[in-house]
Amino acid sequence: MGEFDWGVIWRYRAALWDGMLTSLQLFAIALAGGVFFGTLLAMARLARWKAVSVPAAGFVNLIRAIPFIMAIFWFYFLTPMIVSKFTGQQGEAVGPFTSAVVAFIMVESAYYSEIIRAGIQSIPRGQPGAAYALGLNYWQSMGYVVLPQAFRNMLPVMLTQAVILFQDTSLVYVVALKDFLGAASKAGQLTGRIVELYLFVAVVFFILCFAASRAVKGLQARLAVAR
């Protein structure tokens, strides 16, 4: 086995940095998309009309019932097929990044919708009532009165979910997308220094996620005082 060779990290710093950028990009898009569509899904699930709430509930329950990694596989193989079906042409691979983005937004929107639904339900019903009484319509009542309060209540849970999401970005490794973990694996295979690289990946993930968790804790304490 011999000694550890930590220099390998420095030699592959460019590839590792590129991988980290891919991870962060995927994280940011999935987070934004997940919160946006998650909010719409939560509102749909709470809608009075069954034609809206039942399909939304079905989608959320389906996505939450399958392993995340399976969704990533599915979209990697399915997206080109769907594209070819609509364009009539031979399905061209859309590439691992796009398919991963689609899978992540779908899955995260289902997860976030459950958090946001709880957030909306935590707001006393008199609040939208007062908004309606002023003449605000549904979207205004949601946008100005209910959601700002719901997000405030749910912020710690949403940030915790974001930390989990960031860790989950490493799953794209299965569709050969070079995220941070993928880049480290590749470097490890090329140099035979897989142990050092995986340790490095673990340390980086730990530092980022631990720092984020601490920040969430601090935020929670501040929100508790403000209330």
């Binding site: 009532g129 908004a131 009484a133 002023l134 003449g135 605000l136 100005y144």
Partner: protein, 244 residues
């Protein structure tokens, strides 16, 4: 034509009937107090007036517009009916000024400056001008309810609905809210008020509606009601709440 007219309004929660053929009206400038034991349907009835509570049968006409008609633009109708709630329902994430201007700007389309001017004038009127930059959580219950009244008035309402406005208040704060309401009544505001405050009813009500078990049992002038309520249920109710 009355400002608010209810014709045989009935409502069910599932198979449970909460309102049974309720009919009454509020003329322009009239103050009608709705009272009755808890669970008698008073709150449900007053919330039906601006469509916050749907009902299945009957008709409610406000200023010539049918509330129950699916074609009615409810937000537009509600914009001109002020409502004050038992739990104030100020928006806790907004400053007092923003609470006073949200509806004016987003619903009535007033400019921010106009809305602030109007809001602050009303805030001054309820004696809270100095609280403009605070948040609802920093005010006492009585102060919050006065802000809520100012918020409703900022929309230039043609009628005001009060749903037990003093029930959630500590006793020493009840009067500061009632004083504002009495003043409003004396200015000729059309008001429908669900309350147990019989002193308020005596002072400014024109008519009293007594409800029990989802039905309007009495609907008469104030003097008739306090003089000689015709029904046993109203007599029993009055003797209970007037004891102390």
């Amino acid at each position: 034509m009355p400002m608010i007219e209810l014709r045989k309004v009935s409502k069910w929660y599932g198979s449970f009937r909460v309102l049974t053929e309720c009919s009454t009206s509020v003329a322009k400038g009239e103050v009608v107090v709705v009272c009755g034991p808890s669970g008698s349907g008073k709150s449900t009835l007053i919330k039906a007036v601006n469509g916050l509570e749907p009902f299945q049968e009957g008709e409610i006409i406000v200023n010539g517009v049918s509330v129950g008609d699916p074609k009615t633009n409810l937000p537009k109708l509600r914009a001109h009916i002020g409502m004050v709630f038992q739990n104030f329902e100020l928006f806790p994430h907004m400053s007092i000024t923003d609470n006073l201007t949200l509806g004016q700007v987003k619903v009535l389309g007033r400019s921010r400056e106009q809305a602030v001017e109007k809001g602050l004038a009303l805030l001054d009127r309820v004696g809270l001008a100095s609280q403009r930059d605070k948040y609802p959580g920093q005010l006492s219950g009585g102060q919050q309810q006065r802000v809520a009244i100012a918020r409703a008035l900022s929309m230039d309402p043609i009628a005001m609905l009060f749903d037990e406005p003093t029930s959630a208040l500590d006793p020493e704060m009840i009067n500061e809210v009632l004083d504002v309401m009495v003043e409003l009544a004396r200015e000729g505001m059309t008001m429908m008020v669900v309350t147990h405050e019989m002193g308020f009813a005596r002072k400014v009500a024109h008519r009293v509606v007594f409800m029990d078990q989802g039905q309007i049992v009495e609907d008469c002038t104030k003097d008739e009601f306090f003089g000689s309520p015709r029904s046993d249920r109203a007599q029993a109710f009055l003797s209970k709440i007037l004891q102390h």
